[in-house]
C-alpha cells in the first residue's frame, strides 16, 4: 500500500482513538484512585459527562480578557491532537516530509504549554498568573531532561525520528533493557509526569489555590473554553503515556500496514495506555506533592539520569 495513504490512515486512526481514549484514561485513573482510597468514585465515563456539560454552557468571560481566552484552549487542543498525529502510537509509519521528529514533537507540545500559560495570564487575576508562572518554570526546567532522555534513546537508532527509534527497539529488544535505556526511560517518565502536571509535581485533584499549577490557570475559563483546555491536557497525557509505553513495550505497533495489524495496533496501544494509567494512578497513591521549590531538585535528578544515559550510550556502545 502506498506509504502516504497508510500514514494518513494511521494518523486518522490515532487521532480518533485518542480523542476517545483520553477522557477514558482520566476516568480510569480517577476511578482506580477512588477505589483504592475506599471511595465509590464517579465511574470511568465521568470525564465524558463533564465535557458534555461544559460544552453545553454559556462561557463567562471577563470584560478585560482578550481573544487569548478563546484561542488558547483551541491551540492547546490542536497541539495535543498534533501530538497524536505525529507520535508513533498505533503505527510507526509517518509522513515523509514531517516525520515524528523528536524536536518537532517537543515543540508542538510546547505550543500547548504556551497557550495554557497565556490563558492563565489573560484572566488578569493573581491565581492565573501564579499558575502560569509556576507552570512555565516547571516546563522550562523539564525541557533539558525531555530532550536528553529522548536523545539517549535515539543514539542506538542513529536518528531523532521517534518512529524509527520505536522500530529499532522492536527489531532488537535487547536495547530496551540495557542500562542506558532504563535510565533514559526513567528520566523521560519523570519529565512527562512534570510536564503533564501529575504528582509529585502538581496535584491534579487539588483545589487549594496556593498549591495549584495547572488548575490555577484554568480558573477563569468556563464553558467550552474550559472544555477544550481539559481535552487538550487529557490528550497530551494520553499521547505521552502512549509514547512511553511504546518505547518500553514496542510490541503491537504497526510497522507494515495491514488491516489486521491496524486492529492489533489499536487494541494494543489502548491496553498499554490504560494499563499505564492504572499504574500511574496506583503510583500516585503513594506520592505526596513536593513543595514547589523542591521540584527543581527532582528535575535536576532526572536530568542527571538523562545525561548519564546519553554519555553512557556513547561511551558504552
Amino acid at each position: 500500500m502506498n506509504a502516504v495513504i497508510s500514514a494518513i490512515i494511521i494518523a486518522v486512526v490515532q487521532v480518533v482513538l485518542f480523542v476517545f481514549l483520553a477522557p477514558l484514561l482520566i476516568g480510569v485513573i480517577r476511578q482506580v484512585r477512588a477505589t483504592i482510597e475506599g471511595r465509590a468514585g464517579a465511574g470511568i465515563w465521568q470525564p465524558w459527562r463533564d465535557l458534555r456539560k461544559l460544552l453545553a454552557k454559556d462561557p463567562v468571560r471577563a470584560a478585560e480578557s482578550s481573544w487569548m481566552l478563546r484561542a488558547g484552549p483551541v491551540a492547546l487542543t490542536v497541539s495535543s491532537l498534533l501530538l497524536c498525529v505525529l507520535l508513533p502510537l498505533v503505527g510507526t509509519i509517518s509522513f515523509l516530509t514531517i516525520p515524528s521528529d523528536l524536536f518537532v514533537v517537543v515543540s508542538v507540545m510546547l505550543i500547548g504549554v504556551v497557550a495554557l500559560a497565556l490563558v492563565g495570564l489573560d484572566g488578569g487575576t493573581a491565581f492565573g498568573g501564579m499558575g502560569s508562572s509556576r507552570h512555565m518554570t516547571v516546563a522550562a526546567l523539564v525541557e533539558p531532561t525531555l530532550l536528553l532522555s529522548v536523545y539517549a534513546l535515539s543514539i542506538p537508532a542513529g536518528t531523532s525520528t521517534i518512529s524509527a527509534i520505536v522500530e529499532t527497539r522492536l527489531l532488537s529488544p535487547e536495547i530496551i533493557i540495557s542500562p542506558v535505556s532504563v535510565l533514559a526511560l526513567v528520566a523521560l517518565s519523570i519529565a512527562i509526569m512534570a510536564e503533564t502536571g501529575r504528582l509529585p509535581v502538581d496535584n491534579p485533584g487539588t483545589h487549594l489555590e496556593v498549591t495549584m499549577l495547572h488548575e490555577a490557570m484554568t480558573l477563569e475559563a468556563s464553558g467550552r473554553d474550559l472544555a477544550w483546555l481539559e481535552v487538550g491536557s487529557w490528550l497530551k497525557l494520553a499521547a505521552l503515556l502512549g509514547l512511553v509505553s511504546n518505547l518500553a513495550v514496542p510490541w503491537g505497533v504497526v510497522t507494515d500496514f495491514s488491516a489486521l495489524g491496524l486492529a492489533v495496533g489499536v487494541v494494543s496501544i489502548a491496553v498499554k495506555v490504560l494499563v499505564l494509567g492504572v499504574m500511574l494512578s496506583i503510583g500516585e497513591i503513594f506520592l505526596a506533592k513536593v513543595r514547589l521549590f523542591q521540584v527543581p531538585e527532582l528535575l535536576a535528578g532526572s536530568f542527571a539520569l538523562a545525561f548519564l544515559a546519553v554519555t553512557a550510550s556513547y561511551l558504552v556502545a
Binding site: V78, T97, L110, T125, A140
Partner: protein
C-alpha cells in the same frame, strides 16, 4: 588633453572608484553616495522635513545594501577599491557570499528601522545630530561585511561604532543613565576593537599583508594568539559573556529603533567576525577552538536567558535575550568547528548553517521585538512590564507583531527561531557519531552538554517571552498610562508587520533560505542542506527533514473539527461578559493585584538564587501599638549583573583608587619633576656605559 592623459585619467577614475565596473561596485558606491547625501540632508533640512527626508534616504541606503548583499550572496563579484595615504594594501570592499549574507541581514534590519524611525522619532531622537548619525551607522554597518582586508574592516567597524554611539546618546538630556550607558558602550566597544585590531595585527604579521585573501599557512603559535584575540573581540561585539556588560545598560537606554538596529543588526557583525575568522581567515583550527567557542557560547546563552527571564524591564529583557541568542549562534559555530575537526562534515555543515539561520532569524525577530517595545514606549512611556498590561486590545497590530516575534524568540514551530534551533539540535545529536562510531570522548561529552544547554535555554526563553507578551499585552492594565495606550502611527505598524512577516516567512520556508545560506559557507552545500517539498528543509547528510508547511496543513486539518464544534456551540451558547474576572472568588481584585513580571519570575529567581545572587531588602513597619501587628511590608528585590558587580566593579574601583593615589606623581613640585629628568639621565648614562 592627449589620449594618454585621458587614458590615465580614466584609469585613476576607475581606481578612485568613480566609474563602477560591476553591480557590486555600483551598489557599494551608491551606499556611500546616499550616505553622504543623507548626512548633508540631515545637516541642512528644515526640522519638519528632516525625519521624512533623511528617513527615506536611510531606507534607500538600506535597500541598496540589501540588493548589493543579495547580488554578492548569489555569487556576484567585483568591488570598490579605496586607496589610502599609508603604504598598506589599498582598502578593497568586495563582499563574498558570506559577506553578502550579512550585508543582507544588517540592511534588512536597516530597512525596518529606517521606516520605523521616520515616524517614531520626535524630540531629541529627531535632532540633527541623531539624523546625521543614522546614515553613518547604517553605512558603516553595511560595509563591514564587504571588507576584504583588515584595515577596511576596522574602518567600517569604527564608523559603525561612532554612529551608534551618537544615536545612543540621543536621549541624554532626559535621563542621567544615558550618559553612563554611553561611557560603558564606548569603552566596551573600544575594548573589542582593540582585541580585533590586535588579532588582525598578529595575522598581518604572520601572513605579511592586511588583505584577507592572502591564504598562507599560519604557524600554530600566532594562529592561537590571533584566535583568542578575535574570540574576545568579536565575542564582545556579539555580546557574549563576560563582555556583555554593556548590553543591559546600552540597549535599554538607546531609542528603541536604535536598540533594534544594534541588537538586530550590529551584533551580527560580531557573528560575522567569528565566521570570518573560523571559516575564512583561520580555517581548520584545532579542536580546542571549537570547545572554547562552545563554552563561551553556552555560558552566554544560559546566563543571558537567565537574566532575561528574571528581568521586568522589557528592554533589559530583550537585551539579555540578545546575549542568549548570540550565545546559541556561537555554540553552533563552535560545534561546527569541533565536528569539522573530527571530519563529521555533514553535521559540521549543518551546525554552521544552523548558526547562520539563527543569526538571520534573530535579526528578524529581535528587531521586531525592539521595535515593538518602542511602540509600547511610544504609546505608554513605560518600559517596566510591571506597569503594563492589557495592551493587546488597545494596540492590536503591535500585539500581533510582538506576539509573532515572541514566538520566534521562544523557538515555537513555524517561526524562524524554531527552524534554526531544530537544525542546530539535529547537527548536535548526529555529531557525536560518524558512521556509527563514536568520534571522540570530548565530542560525546560536549554534544549532550550542548543539547542540554540549548534545551534549558529554550525552556527559559519560552518562559521569558510568555512573560513578556502575557504581562504586557494580556490581562488588565496595571497603570493609568497603559490604560490610555493607543495604537502607533501607520508607518510604525508597517515596519512591525514587515518584521513579523519576515519571522513567519523564515519559519515557513526554511528550505530555500537554508539552501541559500548554505551556499555562503559550504563548497558543497547540497550535501549539507536541501530544500524539499513546499519550502521544507532537509539535511541529507544526517537524514533529518522538516516541513513547516506540512505542519501547518496538519494543524489546520485537526483544528477543523474543533473549530466547527466551537461554531456550533457558540450558536447555541453565546458567551456572557462580566465586568471583573472571578479570581477564585476575590471579585474585588484590582489590576494591581494581578501577577506582575517580577512575581512571574519569582520562582525562577529562587531556583537560580546561587547564580543570580539577588539582593533582597525587606522592611517591616509594625503598628505602633503592637509588635505582632504589621502595618506595612516593603520588599525590594534587585537582580544585578553578577559579572558587573563581581568582576567589573572591583576592577573599576581599583582603577579609581589608583587614579587618586597616582596624582602624587604630578604634585607640582619642580624639584620632583627635575628629579625625574635627573634619574632618567643617570639611567641613560649608566646604560650607555655598560
Amino acid at each position: 588633453m592627449t589620449g594618454m592623459e585621458a587614458g590615465l585619467l580614466l584609469q585613476t577614475e576607475i581606481e578612485a572608484g568613480l566609474i563602477p565596473q560591476t553591480g557590486l561596485e555600483a551598489g557599494l558606491l551608491l551606499q556611500l553616495g546616499l550616505g553622504a547625501l543623507a548626512v548633508l540632508t540631515a545637516l541642512t533640512a528644515a526640522p519638519f522635513l528632516r525625519s521624512r527626508a533623511v528617513g527615506i534616504l536611510c531606507t534607500l541606503i538600506a535597500v541598496t545594501g540589501f540588493l548589493t548583499g543579495l547580488v554578492a550572496m548569489l555569487g556576484g563579484t567585483g568591488g570598490l577599491r579605496i586607496s589610502i595615504a599609508l603604504p598598506m594594501d589599498p582598502l578593497l570592499l568586495a563582499p563574498d557570499r558570506l559577506g553578502g549574507l550579512f550585508m543582507l541581514i544588517v540592511s534588512g534590519v536597516g530597512i525596518l528601522v529606517s521606516l520605523y524611525s521616520m515616524s517614531s522619532t520626535h524630540g531629541p531622537d529627531a535632532s540633527r545630530t541623531a539624523w546625521v548619525a543614522m546614515p553613518v551607522f547604517l553605512v558603516g554597518m553595511q560595509l563591514v561585511p564587504a571588507a576584504t582586508d583588515s584595515v577596511s574592516f576596522l574602518l567600517a567597524l569604527e564608523i559603525m561604532t561612532l554612529g551608534s554611539t551618537v544615536l545612543l546618546l540621543a536621549d541624554h538630556a532626559s535621563r542621567a543613565t544615558v550618559a553612563s550607558a554611553g561611557i560603558w558602550y564606548s569603552a566596551m566597544s573600544q575594548l573589542s576593537f582593540f582585541f580585533i585590531l590586535a588579532g588582525f595585527a598578529v595575522l598581518a604579521a604572520a601572513s605579511g599583508g592586511t588583505s584577507f585573501s592572502t591564504p598562507q599557512a599560519i604557524e600554530p603559535g600566532p594562529a592561537n594568539v590571533a584566535f583568542v584575540l578575535f574570540l574576545l573581540g568579536f565575542g564582545g561585539k556579539a555580546e557574549l559573556v563576560p563582555l556583555h556588560v554593556w548590553v543591559p545598560r546600552v540597549l535599554p537606554e538607546a531609542p528603541s529603533h536604535v536598540s533594534a538596529a544594534m541588537s538586530g543588526a550590529m551584533v551580527k557583525i560580531g557573528v560575522y567576525g567569528g565566521l570570518l575568522v573560523c571559516v575564512r581567515l583561520l580555517p581548520d583550527g584545532p579542536a580546542w577552538w571549537g570547545i572554547a567557542i562552545m563554552v563561551v557560547g553556552g555560558a552566554s546563552a544560559l546566563y543571558g536567558i537567565l537574566q532575561a527571564s528574571v528581568s521586568s524591564d522589557l528592554k533589559v529583557l530583550l537585551a539579555y535575550s540578545t546575549t542568549e541568542n548570540m550565545g546559541l549562534v556561537f555554540l553552533g559555530l563552535g560545534a561546527s568547528l569541533l565536528l569539522r575537526g573530527y571530519d563529521a562534515t555533514a553535521a559540521a555543515d549543518a551546525a554552521l548553517v544552523a548558526a547562520l539561520l539563527l543569526a538571520v532569524s534573530h535579526a528578524a525577530f529581535k528587531s521586531t521585538l525592539f521595535l515593538g517595545a518602542g511602540a509600547i514606549i511610544h504609546a505608554t512611556g513605560e518600559r517596566n512590564l510591571d506597569r503594563l498590561g492589557g495592551l493587546g486590545a488597545r494596540m492590536p497590530v503591535t500585539a500581533a507583531a510582538f506576539g509573532v516575534a515572541s514566538l520566534g524568540a521562544a523557538a515555537i514551530p513555524i517561526t524562524s527561531g524554531f527552524v534554526a534551533e531544530w537544525m542546530l539540535l539535529q547537527s548536535l545529536i548526529h555529531g557525536g557519531r560518524l558512521d556509527g562510531a563514536v568520534v571522540s570522548v570530548t565530542a560525546s561529552v560536549a554534544m549532550p552538554l550542548a543539547v542540554a544547554v540549548i534545551a534549558l535555554t529554550a525552556g527559559l526563553a519560552l518562559l521569558t517571552f510568555v512573560k513578556a507578551y502575557g504581562i504586557a499585552f494580556l490581562a488588565r492594565p496595571r497603570s493609568a498610562e497603559a490604560a490610555k495606550a493607543r495604537e502607533v502611527p501607520p508607518l510604525m505598524q508597517l515596519s512591525l508587520a514587515l518584521g513579523a512577516l519576515f519571522v513567519l516567512a523564515l519559519g515557513l520556508l526554511p528550505g530555500p533560505i537554508a539552501a541559500l545560506v548554505g551556499h555562503t559557507v559550504s563548497s558543497n552545500p547540497s550535501a549539507a542542506v536541501q530544500s524539499i517539498g513546499l519550502g521544507g528543509v532537509s539535511l541529507p547528510g544526517i537524514g533529518a527533514v522538516l516541513d513547516p508547511i506540512m505542519l501547518v496543513v496538519l494543524s489546520a486539518l485537526v483544528a477543523i473539527p474543533v473549530i466547527v464544534s466551537i461554531i456550533v456551540s457558540a450558536r447555541g451558547h453565546p458567551h456572557r461578559t462580566v465586568d471583573l474576572p472571578w479570581g477564585g472568588g476575590g471579585s474585588r481584585a484590582r489590576p494591581r493585584m494581578q501577577y506582575t513580571a517580577t512575581s512571574y519570575a519569582e520562582p525562577l529567581v529562587r531556583v537560580f538564587d546561587d547564580v543570580l545572587k539577588p539582593s533582597r531588602d525587606v522592611q517591616v513597619t509594625h503598628v505602633a501599638e503592637s509588635r505582632y501587628l504589621v502595618e506595612r511590608v516593603r520588599v525590594e528585590q534587585r537582580v544585578s549583573d553578577v559579572f558587573e558587580t563581581r568582576l567589573y566593579r572591583p576592577v573599576l574601583n581599583l582603577f579609581q583608587r589608583y587614579g587618586i593615589v597616582v596624582r602624587h606623581v604630578a604634585n607640582g613640585s619642580i624639584h620632583r619633576y627635575l628629579s625625574y629628568s635627573f634619574v632618567a639621565l643617570l639611567i641613560v648614562l649608566i646604560v650607555v656605559s655598560l
